[in-house]
Subunit: 432 residues, 2 copies
């Protein structure tokens, strides 16, 4: 009987998050104001965010305590998530490599997004905020935020890119069942949305219109605060729970990875699973390979420029230093939602710039093929974003086979794709 | 930090199934031939089933070894499934009762059906059968069977009630990703289907047409065997894994239930979770309450007759003694697929007839309301069938509150309802 699922006992769960910022090889460059006359972006950010999140973004502390109530909710939603030894995949590939997969899809909303949604809702509740406002693309973040806010009895208001919301009625309905108020963007509820709707009443919306709606709504309704689902330091801090758990699970399994793999949009599931391994690599420069997997639709870390840029297409956010395709870059619409960002987390950008993080990118067809193989072997359907990490894992395992290397590969399974099957279906239709 | 998820270590998993038949208060009445001139139904059954399943249906042994390869696959798919202490639900209901929920929805195809699909595929492979043929209504069984057959490299051919298949394109596509061959019923592939299509080329199909297609296909293609997803002794035998695991998990939790609750269609998730508690109650008559939850659309155990009847509407199966609404009974179409059977397992029938099993039935509106409450508290969406068990659990917990009783309630969470959201949506539309 081969042990293939590793859990942690409640008393062995991490009780502190690891601040990647504190272990970076250099000081993180500050956010900047753009050189224009549209007012201070830093002031807007300060105004719309909770105090706790602003503090956590700035902190240089290496370890940040996870509040007891947050830990209770982490346990309630099923932390620790399983670490799976993927024996069947190893056998299928006939590789000498060992493959470990951290299954964040086991969380009730089917993705890692809850890890930051829960503390953000907790801190907002503590600051007597009426509710959290955000935008969502594919909908996983909106779903996680709805559930987390519901747990702490505050409102969640989510502006969802209209075309994507209409394509995924089940995920919208699920978000509403969890108490979320979901509005299509552009929205009549905000001045930003109304201006856009006047220009084009049938606008499909974009991540840019949704960010505009969310920020605009928060500025117009002071009892609410704005929540971020990716990129920012505090989001990566919360996501470190993934890596910290995994590290302890690997200790139980008696293994440590030579290669750690995660898909990369904003960079938060990547920062999460890699946190302890980044620390190890920076403190004791080693051969461990940290690999970001991108979509060829938006290969920032692979082919973008390292420079100051806006995080949103309209330029309403401050400038951050990271890899970018340019804030007005529009990736092909056929590609998956979570990896279509034009830039990403400044921490991830620095790691890439310093050569600590490697990057690779893939086409849509090949990642769905990897996803189909995973489904055949394990029954569950990976989110399109997760398929990128699976494809890279397969390639690393096959290269170990060619070189007859006894590698240990670890990857983050960031989310379930049952509600994204349209992408799979379209991709198999194309192949016919 | 309150412990609320209980797992078993690999070495503590059950290695034998418990045969409920062997602990029944009486000998199980045999199947019978109907008194007509359409040939022997028992002969047909013998011909289309695998030898192992016929043997397991007949065995009087109390414990049946789980083959090592089946145990490995059980572990691969995530057994043990978690036993969850539902503290949030207890608090919401403000009840002195403790509530434990066995989460079979954590299996990769989202329901308990894999517990029997895996051994059935294993035994078929051992008998050099080319593939397993079956029918499916809501699609959970077809999905589980597709995955299990894929694990053992044999074919799965599933005849799916056409109207239901068309309503659930995602579940069909998922089954196909897992290697299943899915055909709408009535089907042109079989003589039975062709006769029906000649009469009505646009037939929606029914569970009856699908059973006809499946049996007909197996008779016409001797290298295949027919697989059952419910009702039969061997199916309940395999499902005993649910109850055996739960019993051990409850020992770890330091609790034993006063009330065990499961929804009841054919009776297999019910027989599964209740197996060790049936044994205990028969061997040491006690006050433990075993409660079957039915739909008012087909309340066999609550309001049906205990008599010999066919298990299919066309009368192609042998007669079994159980509770029945009559084999030509047609429940309202709006009600959920898994609980619409007109009769059920003869073992469950005997338990009910001897007063060992209680029964209660609910309307569709009230069960979806219970499901919505569960979703708000726990994020996951219960299958409509599972909502019945949740509704009964809530009612038992509220009655404990009225009577100030410190009860311990255990229920089986049989499956996830993410792909059944249309039912929820229709039910909320009705309320408007």
């Amino acid at each position: 009987m081969q042990k293939n699922m590793f859990f942690l006992k409640e008393q062995d769960l991490p009780t502190q998050w690891l601040n990647i910022k504190s272990v970076l090889p250099d000081k993180l460059p500050p956010l900047k104001e753009p050189n224009d006359d549209r007012g201070s972006r830093l002031d807007v950010i300060k105004k719309i965010r909770t105090k706790a999140m602003l503090d956590q973004d700035g902190t240089e502390e290496k370890w940040v305590d996870i509040p007891g109530e947050v830990l209770d909710k982490y346990i309630q939603v099923g932390r620790s998530t399983p670490l799976m030894r993927a024996i069947e995949l190893e056998q299928y590939l006939d590789t000498p490599a060992k493959i470990y997969i951290k299954r964040e899809d086991f969380l009730p909303t089917h993705s890692f997004k809850l890890n930051t949604a829960i503390p953000q809702a907790y801190y907002a509740k503590n600051e007597n905020v009426k509710g959290l406002i955000s935008e969502t693309g594919a909908g996983q973040w909106g779903l996680g935020l709805s559930y987390a806010c519901n747990m702490f009895n505050i409102e969640a208001i989510v502006f969802w890119v209209r075309i994507s919301m209409e394509q995924k009625p089940f995920r919208k309905y699920w978000s509403e069942m969890l108490g979320g108020k979901i509005y299509p963007s552009p929205s009549k509820l905000t001045s930003s949305g109304r201006i856009l709707l006047e220009k084009d009443p049938n606008s499909y919306g974009s991540l840019g219109t949704a960010i505009g709606d969310a920020i605009s709504y928060t500025l117009e309704n002071e009892e609410y605060k704005y929540a971020s689902g990716s990129n920012l330091n505090h989001v990566l801090l919360h996501q470190s729970i993934i890596g910290l758990e995994t590290y302890r699970q690997l200790e139980i399994a008696g293994d440590m990875p030579d290669t750690v793999i995660a898909c990369c949009g904003g960079g938060s599931n990547l920062g999460g699973i890699m946190a302890p391994f980044i620390q190890a690599k920076v403190e004791n420069p080693s051969n461990i390979k940290l690999l970001a997997v991108e979509s060829n639709a938006s290969p920032r870390l692979s082919k973008g420029e390292y420079k100051y840029d806006f995080s949103d297409p309209l330029g309403i956010t401050p400038l951050t230093l990271s890899y970018t395709m340019g804030h007005d870059f529009m990736p092909p619409s056929s590609h998956v939602g979570g990896l279509r960002q034009h830039n990403g987390s400044p921490m991830v950008g620095m790691l890439r710039n310093k050569g600590i993080l490697d990057a690779v990118s893939y086409d849509q067809e090949e990642i769905f093929e990897a996803g189909r193989l995973f489904t055949k072997l394990y029954g569950s359907i990976p989110a399109p974003e997760t398929c990128h990490a699976i494809k890279a894992t397969i390639d690393e395992a096959l290269s170990a086979k060619v070189n007859n290397e006894k590698k240990t590969i670890l990857m983050c399974f960031s989310g379930n794709g049952l509600l994204d099957l349209n992408g799979y279906i379209e991709s198999s239709d194309k192949k016919r």
